[in-house]
C-alpha cells in the first residue's frame, strides 16, 4: 500500500487537482437541473424545466445573443488583423520589428481594468457613448495580441524549406502562399480564432467599462449573482461547456485519424 502510494503519489495528486478544477463546473451543471423557484442558492429538487425553456429567465437569452454577436464580430476582425501581423513578423524582415513585438506584448501585460478604464475615458472624451460597437472595438483590441502569438508560433514551426520546395516546383509567390503556406498555418489560425472567441465571450471587466447599458452574458451573471443566478444561466453555461468540449475533442479525433491511416 505504501509502495503503491509513493509510486502513484503524483497521479493521485493530479487526480485531486482535476477534482478541484471540476467542482464548480459540476456544481453549475447540477444546479441547471434545480427546481429553483425564486432562488437558485439551495437544492430544491430535480427538474428538466430549465433545459426545456432556457430563455425562461428575463434577459438571459438577450444577454447571450449580445455576447455571441460581439464574440463573432470581434473574433473575425481580430483574427484577420492578428494573422496579418503574425505573417509580417514570422515571414518578413523589416525595421522596427522589436517595437512591434513590444506593442503586441504590452496589451497582454496590462491589467484588464486599465485597458477598460482607459478606453472608456477616451470614448467619453470623444463624446462616444459606450455600447455595442465600443465593446466590439475593445474586444478586438485585447484579442489581437493573443491571435498574433498563436499564429506566429504556428508559422515559426513551419519549415521554410516547404515554401522553397513549392517555388522550386514552379509555384509563384502567390501560389506558394495559397497552396502551401496558408493550408499549413490554417490550424493555427483556427486555434487563434477559438481562443479569441472564448476570450471575448468570457470577458467581463473590459466589457463592463465599455458596454454601457448593453447586457452581455457575463454581465448578466454578475448582476444577478446577488440574488442567486437563475438556473437558465446554468443551462446556458453547461451547454457552452459541452459544445466547446465536443468541438475540441472532435478536432483532436479528426487530426488523429488523419495522421494514422
Amino acid at each position: 500500500m505504501k509502495r503503491w502510494l509513493s509510486k502513484n503519489l503524483i497521479k493521485v495528486y493530479a487526480f485531486l487537482a482535476f477534482v478541484y478544477l471540476f467542482i464548480p463546473i459540476a456544481y453549475t451543471m447540477a444546479f441547471s437541473f434545480n427546481n429553483a423557484g425564486k432562488s437558485n442558492l439551495t437544492w430544491r429538487g430535480f427538474t428538466f424545466a430549465n433545459w426545456q425553456n432556457p430563455c425562461g429567465a428575463p434577459q438571459v437569452c438577450n444577454a447571450l445573443g449580445n455576447s455571441l454577436k460581439i464574440g463573432g464580430i470581434s473574433t473575425l476582425i481580430a483574427t484577420i488583423l492578428g494573422t496579418m501581423i503574425a505573417f509580417a513578423l514570422g515571414r518578413h524582415r523589416f525595421r522596427g520589428r522589436s517595437s512591434v513585438n513590444l506593442l503586441i506584448f504590452l496589451p497582454m501585460a496590462t491589467p484588464e481594468i486599465v485597458l477598460g478604464a482607459s478606453l472608456l475615458a477616451m470614448f467619453l472624451n470623444l463624446g462616444i457613448n459606450p455600447g455595442f460597437w465600443p465593446t466590439v472595438i475593445a474586444h478586438v483590441m485585447f484579442c489581437i495580441s493573443f491571435v498574433v502569438v498563436t499564429v506566429k508560433a504556428r508559422i515559426a514551426s513551419l519549415d521554410p524549406k516547404l515554401e522553397e520546395a513549392a517555388m522550386d516546383l514552379y509555384a509563384t509567390e502567390a501560389e506558394t502562399f495559397r497552396r502551401v503556406t496558408l493550408p499549413l498555418v490554417m490550424p493555427g489560425i483556427f486555434g487563434a480564432a477559438l481562443l479569441a472567441f472564448s476570450l471575448s465571450f468570457d470577458d467581463f471587466i473590459i466589457t463592463n467599462f465599455n458596454s454601457g447599458t448593453l447586457t452581455t452574458f457575463p454581465k448578466f451573471v454578475y448582476i444577478s449573482s446577488a440574488r442567486g443566478i437563475p438556473p437558465q444561466a446554468n443551462v446556458i453555461g453547461s451547454t457552452m461547456f459541452i459544445l466547446a468540449l465536443a468541438i475540441v475533442l472532435t478536432g483532436q479525433f479528426v487530426s488523429n485519424r488523419k495522421n494514422r491511416v
Binding site: 524549406k161 522553397e164 513549392a166 509555384a171 502551401v180
Partner: protein, 378 residues
C-alpha cells in the same frame, strides 16, 4: 557569345560565382562547367560553400556576382519557379498536407500540364511506390519519403536535378541501396544530376565527376579515380580517403623521375605525379596511400626503421600504425591474405611501395588540411 558556343544545349555553366553573407565569403569566384547528362558531385566538408552553390543554381539564393547559365540561357537572376531546375531537398520537404500523389503532381499542376495522372502514375511506378499514392508523407518511412522527393522532382523533367545531401537522413544500409537506385534512375531518365554531399564514399560511388570544394573554392575536379589516385592538394589527399604525407627535399631528377630525400631515404616520384613542380626550391610533401605500402616485399621506395605501435583488424585488411624514426606516425593497410599476419606490436618494419603510386605536393601547405573536418558533421 563565347559561352554559348562552347557549351552544348543543356550544360550548366557557372562563371566567377561569388556569394557573400556580410563579411563572410561563402562562395569565392567559382567557375564550373557541368556537361549535360552527367552525374556530378560537389563534395566538401560542411561550410565549404557547396550548399550555397546549389541554392544559387536553384534560384533560392541570389549571387553577389557572377553568372549562372544553362546552355545559352542566363538564369542568374531568374525566380526559382522560372528555371528548369528541380531540387531534392535535404529532409525532403514533402508537403505534409498533401497526399503522395498531390505532392508529385504539384509541379505539373503549377505548369498547367494536361496528363497529370498518367505522368504521376508513371513516375511513381519508376520509384516503385505506386501503391502509396493516397497516403500522406508522415505515413511513409524515410526511404520511401526519399524516393517520393526524387519522383516529385524528376516528374518535371528538369534540365537539371539538384540533390542536397539527399541521403543524409537514412541509415547506412538504406543509404547504400539508395545510392545504387539513384544512379539507376539517373541513367534511366538521362537528366543531369548535381549532387551535394559531405560523404566522400557516396560521391565516389555515384558520380562520374566530382568537384572537391573547400572554403568556397574548388580544390580539384575529376573522376573518382583521378581524385583518389592523384590528389593535387593536401586537402584532397586527406579529405578523400587517407594519405601518408612526409616532408622531403628535392635532390634532382633522373630521367622522367623526381628524386626526393626524405629523412635520408631516396624516394622516387614520377614526373607526371609531381604536383609541386612550381615550388621545388622549398620542401615538398611526398604522399602515399596506406594500402599501397607493403611491410613484406621490398620495393624501390622504402622508408626503414619504423616501429609498429598499433594493429587493428578490420576484416578485409589489417591496419598498422607505424612510428618512424623522425617521430611521425604513418598508416599501412595490409590485405588479409596471410602475408603480414605474423607482425606484432613493437616489431621493427620497413615501409615499401612502387614509385608509380607516389605523388608530390607543395611542401608549404598545411599537412593536416582536410583531416580535422569531421565528414559526418552536418
Amino acid at each position: 557569345m563565347v559561352d554559348a558556343a562552347a557549351s552544348t544545349k543543356g550544360d550548366l555553366n557557372l562563371t566567377n560565382l561569388v556569394k557573400e553573407f556580410g563579411d563572410f565569403r561563402a562562395v569565392d569566384d567559382l567557375s564550373l562547367l557541368i556537361p549535360e547528362g552527367s552525374f556530378f558531385a560537389l563534395l566538401g566538408p560542411s561550410g565549404c560553400g557547396k550548399t550555397t552553390t546549389l541554392r544559387m543554381i536553384a534560384g533560392l539564393e541570389e549571387p553577389t556576382s557572377g553568372k549562372i547559365a544553362i546552355g545559352p540561357t542566363d538564369i542568374t537572376y531568374a525566380k526559382p519557379y522560372a528555371r528548369p531546375v528541380n531540387t531534392v531537398f535535404q529532409n525532403y520537404a514533402l508537403f505534409p498536407h498533401l497526399t503522395i500523389f498531390e505532392n508529385v503532381a504539384f509541379g505539373l499542376r503549377r505548369r498547367g500540364i494536361k496528363d497529370v495522372k498518367e505522368q504521376v502514375t508513371k513516375v511513381l511506378e519508376l520509384v516503385e511506390l505506386g501503391h502509396l499514392a493516397g497516403r500522406k508523407p508522415v505515413q511513409l518511412s524515410g526511404g520511401q519519403q526519399q524516393r517520393i522527393a526524387v519522383a516529385r522532382a524528376i516528374v518535371n523533367r528538369p534540365a537539371l536535378l539538384l540533390l542536397d545531401e539527399p541521403l543524409g537522413a537514412l541509415d547506412l544500409k538504406l543509404r547504400r541501396q539508395m545510392q545504387i537506385e539513384l544512379k539507376w534512375i539517373q541513367t534511366e531518365v538521362g537528366l543531369t544530376f548535381v549532387h551535394v554531399t559531405h560523404d566522400q564514399e557516396e560521391a565516389m560511388t555515384m558520380a562520374d565527376t566530382i568537384a572537391v570544394m573547400n572554403e568556397g573554392r574548388i580544390e580539384q575536379m575529376g573522376t573518382p579515380v583521378e581524385l583518389y589516385e592523384s590528389p593535387r592538394t593536401v586537402f584532397v589527399a586527406n579529405f578523400l580517403g587517407q594519405s601518408n604525407l612526409v616532408k622531403g627535399k628535392v635532390e634532382g631528377t633522373s630521367g622522367d623521375d623526381l628524386l626526393v630525400s626524405v629523412h635520408g631515404n631516396r624516394i622516387i616520384v614520377p614526373a607526371n605525379r609531381d604536383f609541386a613542380a612550381d615550388n621545388h626550391e622549398n620542401s615538398v610533401l611526398i604522399g602515399i596511400r596506406p594500402e599501397k605500402i607493403s611491410l613484406e616485399h621490398a620495393e624501390e621506395n622504402t622508408l626503414g626503421g619504423g616501429i609498429i605501435t598499433d594493429i587493428s583488424f578490420v576484416g578485409v585488411s589489417t591496419q598498422f600504425q607505424v612510428q618512424m624514426p623522425w617521430g611521425q606516425e604513418l598508416a599501412v593497410f595490409e590485405q588479409n591474405d596471410g602475408g603480414a599476419s605474423h607482425l606484432q606490436k613493437g616489431d621493427t618494419v620497413s615501409l615499401s611501395w612502387k614509385p608509380q603510386f607516389t605523388f608530390a605536393l607543395d611542401g608549404t601547405a598545411d599537412v593536416d588540411a582536410g583531416t580535422s573536418v569531421n565528414p559526418d558533421e552536418e
